[in-house]
């Protein structure tokens, strides 16, 4: 017991982060930098690098910011928590950022209050995350935020009967609920909701099912990557498009790095999302020019880069507001009143949920200068995250 006491005192003296002002602020970034989701990690880093290149390596010209990257691989809460713990305790970071997967965010959340560390989530998109700790701010999107406008679009298009097909996991179920609830409240009907197994490779039976349901349109959500490609090909090659069935999706299905693989057949697919690389604004132009300069190409850029870019904006503002001192309460208070022009359009942090409010765009896959893009054709301004109330 005595030994333990001595040790604890010793350890406490060493580890408890000091509140003194520092010339260097450390930021720990947790994300998938290796493995099947490495594309997301790569984009985190791109967003961060682009922000620093455009806004200076030092906050307010005087406070240095140092970054420490840690790889979580896939969804692995135990590993994510251990890494966050290490970043806080050993590397003594002042802020945490990143986080691609919901369970990883959930595992990190309980560490934030006792260690007085603020976390800016760059991606993980389940609504409830920001409620797990008052020290979490999020600059990405939620499935509800992105899906609700699509249901409105469907209704405005005069569609009456829509079948939903989503991948059978957390985000997919969120998307299904959001679409169904909104579309039905607007007078439409969703006669059938199919949840497709995560490992589905052959979507033909699903297509047959859609055809047999007699629906006017199908709403689809799948995580970007091989499944979206196989789904879209299956949709077109099985003749559903020729039959006049509309395909409505979130932007995950027409994720920019996947577009070349989808090819011309993707032309005309409509999706709603918070960011398109083809967004026309001076901010986006500046952002993409810098990203291109850093990465050499825009072929691997997706919304994670913008999530990180805006996350950096929040972190910089928090550092400014606290003048480099570790004061998460003050930092979060400052973050709550932020609004700024992001590459994706005007955004602000909702003081109630600490989640980003932003425009959601209806886009259509089109061809510009021989390249497939998501062309924005309609704006849903200042969308909140409507996912909290229904999931509680």
């Amino acid at each position: 017991m005595n030994w333990k006491g001595i040790f604890l005192a010793f350890a406490a003296a060493l580890m408890v982060p000091s509140g003194a002002s520092a010339d260097t602020i450390k930021v720990g970034i947790v994300g998938p930098f290796a493995g099947p989701f490495a594309l997301a990690g790569k984009n985190f880093k791109l967003g961060i690098d682009a922000y620093r290149a455009l806004n200076g390596e030092k906050v307010g010209g005087k406070i240095d910011v140092e970054f420490i990257y840690r790889d979580t691989g896939g969804p692995n809460p135990a590993k994510a928590k251990a890494l966050a713990q290490e970043l806080i305790v050993k590397d003594k970071v002042d802020y945490l950022g990143g986080v691609y997967f919901t369970p990883n965010a959930m595992a990190i959340a309980p560490l934030l209050e006792p260690s007085k560390t603020a976390l800016v989530v760059f991606n993980a998109a389940t609504s409830a995350i920001t409620q797990r700790s008052p020290y979490i701010v999020r600059t990405s999107f939620t499935m509800w935020q992105n899906t609700v406008p699509m249901a409105k679009v469907a209704s405005a298009m005069g569609l009456k009967k829509i079948i939903t097909t989503v991948t059978d996991y957390g985000p997919g179920i969120d998307a299904e609920k959001a679409f169904k609830k909104t579309f039905e409240s607007l007078g439409g009907s969703v006669p059938e909701s199919i949840r497709m197994p995560v490992k589905t490779t052959d979507f033909s039976p699903i297509m047959q099912r859609i055809r047999d349901s007699g629906a006017d349109a199908v709403f689809a959500f799948l995580p970007s990557g091989p499944p979206t490609l196989a789904y879209t090909k299956s949709f077109i090659d099985n003749g559903l498009r020729d039959q006049g069935i509309k395909l409505l999706t979130t932007g995950d299905v027409t994720h920019e790095p996947d577009l070349p693989a989808l090819g011309e057949r993707a032309l005309g697919i409509r999706s709603t999302y918070h960011y398109s690389l083809a967004h026309e604004s001076p901010e986006n132009e500046k952002f993409l020019a810098k990203v291109k300069e850093i990465a050499g190409t825009l072929d691997e850029v997706n919304m994670c880069a913008v999530g990180a870019f805006d996350g950096m904006h929040v972190i910089y503002k928090m550092i400014e507001a606290t003048d480099g001192k570790r004061d998460p309460d003050k930092a979060i208070a400052a973050a709550k009143s932020l609004d700024w022009k992001s590459p994706r359009g005007p955004v602000r942090i909702d003081p109630q949920t600490r989640h980003i409010r932003q425009n959601i765009y209806l886009r259509e896959v089109a061809k510009k200068n021989g390249k497939l893009i998501n062309k924005e054709i309609q704006i849903f301004a200042d969308q909140p995250d409507s996912g909290l109330a229904p999931t509680q």
Binding site: T102, P114, P197
Partner: protein
Amino acid sequence: MTSASIADSVKEKKTTALSSDLIGTLAIAVLGGAAYVVFPDDLGLLTRILAAAFFVLSLCLVTGICGIATLGHAVMYGAGAYAAGYFCVQGLTDPIALIVVGAMAGAVMGAVSGAIILRTSGLPQLVLSIALVQLMHAAANKASSITGGSDGLIGISPAPVLGLFAFDFYGRTAYLFGLVLLVCVFAVLQRLVRSPFGLLCRGIMQDRVRVAAMGVSVYPVLIRMYTISGAVAGIGGALIAIATGVVGLDSVSFAWSAEALVMLVLGGASSLYGALIGTVVFMTFEHFVSAASPFHWLAIVGALLIAVVLFLPKGLQSFPARFLVKLRGGRRDHSS
């Protein structure tokens, strides 16, 4: 080994086993304690290593001792993790009780999956084990009202250990709690492996037909070992659930099963020490290399695996074992 040599080693073990077991267990306790003092900032990683150690030890019992090839061992680990997590969320917050719950869930899952897997051998066995882990993964994803699905089972906040030591965000309590458990379990497993039952299992691995000819009914023996192995894996799962506070689908994944196999073989499949060495080396290596060069990490692990298979077929543990054998005057190698 022939049956004569087994009898031989039994005699030999009677004299030296107890003391060497004691030394081994003590060594683990001392090394574990030293790690706590020397790396106080890495307790998160160290706790993950402990949980993995239970898992790999458990795999050692069936793969190293009984010769069963499985790529689906995470069903038991995941069962322990989810059971402990679920009971904790429901209000049973005592950590020791949760470990017991995890062990029991793991044992039940071990008995069930063992009963299925052990009906075959070779490739079909491998495929069955994979199918089972995928089945459980799909089930855990589906039963999201209980497991939280892909978002993870959240809200696990265990009470202080023995009502005294609360779980802190440095992970001190979690690590020490895990270490004490590991030392206890390891001591028991050592006895188990040396017991007539353990030797019988080794015998089955070496020559199943012969053991059967001796009048032993092989299937129930293996199921018993599988159940014990399940309990050990379940403890590891419960430990990580308690330490992390979230249980994700990764705990019942094919990938985690495969990783455990890699760790086991890296250390040396036939020995409990090998299992521990493999776990510690692999997890530490992963931690540093994946941080230093995430993109090449997988290729490096792959190359390492190939190298082990080619140059160290008995795993890393064969280094010190060979060395010890020489020290003792070149006595015949009897890996334990």
